[in-house]
């Protein structure tokens, strides 16, 4: 029996910033459920609030009002340390700029989240190598990020996000810094590993060509949810 709890539940979420004395509304009253095990895309033009929404879903920011619930956990109830521990267990991130640690090898970058979970060296090694193998970089394990191409870096980032088996993976414009071929390959890879791991994937993009890959698409404009589309195949 499948768990009916959505991967993410947003209830009247608002986020405002004060900039130079002005109140800027980044998100205004977003209410949505993102089901588990889906490949979800958040689309919208620049400044529409995609990154802000991903930050809230990823538990690295808190809403000004409203409620954010991730994997059944209300993030408002958690202290900073508890929220950090929750991210360590349940949320994986793939960044637009890859954000790999430049002083660590590909292997060590992927291993890093497992260290935070306190796993043994043997388990860490097995999982890390399996993940690198899955993204096709087992033979590049010892390379530092500056020795890898953009596509390879993003593969390492994907491996790092998935290695701990999170219930949710967030990717903020993961293909923005890649050429179209590499971008398509990365989307294919993300789609593939999402299916294998049955993980909920939420990523933002303003590239309409990628929308065909999504199970569900949420459209944002000026901080408001203006559309929700579910693919016919789902």
């Amino acid at each position: 029996m499948t768990d009916p709890t959505p991967a993410v539940r947003l209830d009247a979420v608002e986020k405002t910033y004060a900039e130079e004395g002005l109140r800027v509304t980044a998100l205004a009253g977003i209410t949505a459920d993102i089901p588990r095990g889906r490949f979800v895309m958040i689309v919208g033009p620049s400044g529409s609030g995609k990154s802000t929404l991903l930050n809230l879903i990823g538990c690295i920011d808190r809403p000004t009002s409203g409620s954010v619930e991730v994997a059944g956990q209300k993030i408002a109830d958690l202290s900073d340390d508890a929220l950090t521990d929750f991210r360590a267990r349940a949320v994986g991130f793939v960044f637009q700029n890859f954000n790999l640690f430049p002083v660590l090898s590909a292997f060590e970058n992927v291993e890093y989240p497992l260290l935070l979970l306190g796993l043994s060296a043997r388990v860490r090694r097995e999982r890390t190598m399996a993940m690198l193998d899955q993204v096709g970089l087992a033979d590049q394990a010892k390379q530092r990020p500056n020795q890898l191409s953009g596509g390879q870096k993003q593969r390492v980032a994907i491996a790092r996000a998935l290695v701990k088996g999170p219930s949710l993976v967030l990717a903020d414009e993961p293909t923005a810094n890649l050429d179209s071929a590499n971008g398509a390959a990365i989307i294919e890879l993300m789609r593939s590993v999402q299916r294998q791991h049955d993980t909920s994937f939420v990523f933002s993009t303003h590239d309409p060509q990628l929308m065909s890959h999504a199970d569900e698409t949420f459209s944002l404009r000026d901080g408001r949810l203006v559309g929700h589309h579910v693919a016919e195949t789902v």
Binding site: I60, T84, F93, V103, Y112, P113
Partner: protein, 461 residues
């Protein structure tokens, strides 16, 4: 992983890390060299003081505060019993190098053959004991002091004077001192005092009816315990330069028996002090406490003083050099502090996005703080270790260079030396101090890094 990450981050900007490590190392080198130099000076002054005064002295109660102006009145009757008591005490005996009686006295020294006189400060000592005391050298320091006191245990009439006094009393040529004054025309004495002293000396010689002695000698006049003037003649075997001019112009070191004879005449012979020299200065507090305990238990009218009280110069030297060392260490500490704050601050700024990434992935604020603190500590550990090792290397080179200098209170140049052996406490202290300083310096940037909002940190370019 934390250590690996910290170490690799230090190597990331090598030039900046090398500059920071260099600043820490220079601080450590300065402290090792100056600390070792100060240690040599302090131990040198201690050695010199303990050779002269011993570690402890037992006086009649009140002598130290009131009696030095009239030592004869503060003599200890039955001092041999006190000597025996100290020597046989089961607690004190194993600690003692020398225990010996001494006499301190003042008076007028005259060489009436050349009609010269001068007030003197005298000390009467047991020659053998004094020679043993002068050989005390537990720190293995190189000194140019004469190995013996210049006194003769078998001949109580022999004594030693300061070079200044020898010159004043016209013994310069007789003792082959050099820098002798030109000969002056002889004038008839017009001072009644000098005439009186000369008469006294002549009457003493006549009474003793000794054959003519060609050895250089002086006559010493002092008031006895009973208040009567007394004169004795002393053969001057040598003149020793004293580190302080006032002492050099007045010092007379004589045989204990001769000093007693001058101070007590035909009366009961007493000692002014029982001096104890210990094998080790570290035993001094225990020995002092034991003597005080015995004095209290036996209700003896005595007091015990240590060399730090007897010779305030020692305390002044240690205090002054301690203050200079603290000042230098503080300056070095501040330089290290600012260097590391700058290095770590730059590092935090450059790695802001990485801090955001680590926090997003699940590293707590405390983990970020630990990371930067560890980097500061590694910088400190490398810099302090390298600096201490380099400092020791430089110290060894200095010690072998053959350079000399004149330490405070010394009369002859000593080798310029930096203490290295047995300085593990100083070196350990420097290492720990620099580590604490670098950790403290890293704390501010580390806290700043830990407090960064994750979203803002990730947005940082």
């Amino acid at each position: 992983m934390l250590f690996k990450l910290a170490f690799r981050n230090i190597l990331r900007n090598r030039r900046r890390s090398v500059m920071s490590i260099g600043a820490i190392a220079v601080g450590a080198i300065a402290m090792v060299l100056f600390g070792g130099f100060v240690a040599i000076i302090i131990l040198g002054v201690q050695t010199d003081t303990v050779r002269r005064t011993g570690h402890l002295a037992i006086y009649r109660d009140g002598y130290f505060t009131f009696g030095s102006g009239n030592p004869a009145a503060w003599g200890m009757p039955g001092y041999r019993d006190i000597l025996d008591m100290v020597k046989q005490d089961p607690v004190l005996a194993p600690m003692i190098e020398v225990v010996t009686p001494t006499v301190s006295l003042f008076g007028i020294a005259g060489n009436f053959a050349v009609e010269a006189s001068r007030t003197f400060m005298g000390a009467g000592v047991v020659p053998g004991d004094r020679d043993t005391m002068r050989r005390w050298n537990p720190y293995h320091l190189t000194y140019n002091n004469a190995a013996d006191s210049g006194l003769d245990g078998a001949d109580p009439t022999k004594g030693v004077v300061g070079t200044g006094l020898a010159r004043i009393l016209g013994l310069c040529e007789a003792l082959k001192l050099g820098e002798c004054p030109p000969p002056q025309a002889k004038e008839k004495p017009d001072s009644p005092l000098a005439t009186d002293i000369a008469d006294l000396a002549d009457s003493e010689k006549a009474a003793n009816a000794e054959p003519a002695d060609t050895r250089p000698h002086i006559d010493l006049l002092a008031a006895t315990a009973g208040g009567a003037p007394n004169v004795i003649s002393m053969v001057v075997t040598r003149a020793d330069r004293q580190g302080v001019k006032e002492l050099d112009d007045a010092m007379v070191l004589m045989h204990f028996d001769l000093a007693q004879q001058l101070l007590y005449g035909r009366g009961e012979k007493r000692a002014i002090a029982i001096v104890l020299q210990l094998h080790s200065t570290s035993d001094m507090p225990v020995a002092k406490a034991r003597i005080a305990e015995v004095i209290r238990a036996k209700k003896l009218p005595l007091e015990v003083r240590d060399f730090i009280e007897i010779s305030p110069f020692y305390g002044q030297v240690t205090g002054m050099f301690g203050a200079i060392f603290t000042f230098i260490a503080s300056i070095m500490g501040v330089i290290v502090l600012f260097t590391v704050v700058n290095t770590m601050g730059m590092s935090v700024m450059e790695r802001t996005a990485e801090i955001g990434t680590a926090r997003a992935i699940g590293l707590r604020r405390g983990g970020i703080r630990r990371q930067f603190l560890l980097e500061g500590m590694i910088l400190g550990a490398i810099g302090a270790t390298a600096g201490i090792l380099l400092g020791i290397g430089i110290a060894i080179i200095v010690n072998r260079s053959g350079l000399t200098w004149l330490p405070p209170g010394q009369s002859a140049p000593s080798p310029l030396a930096v203490m290295v052996d047995g300085m593990w406490k100083l070196h350990g202290g420097i290492w720990i101090g620099l580590m604490l300083m670098t950790t403290l310096a890293a704390l501010l940037p580390a806290n700043r890094a830990a407090r960064l909002p994750v979203v803002d940190a990730l947005r940082h370019v």
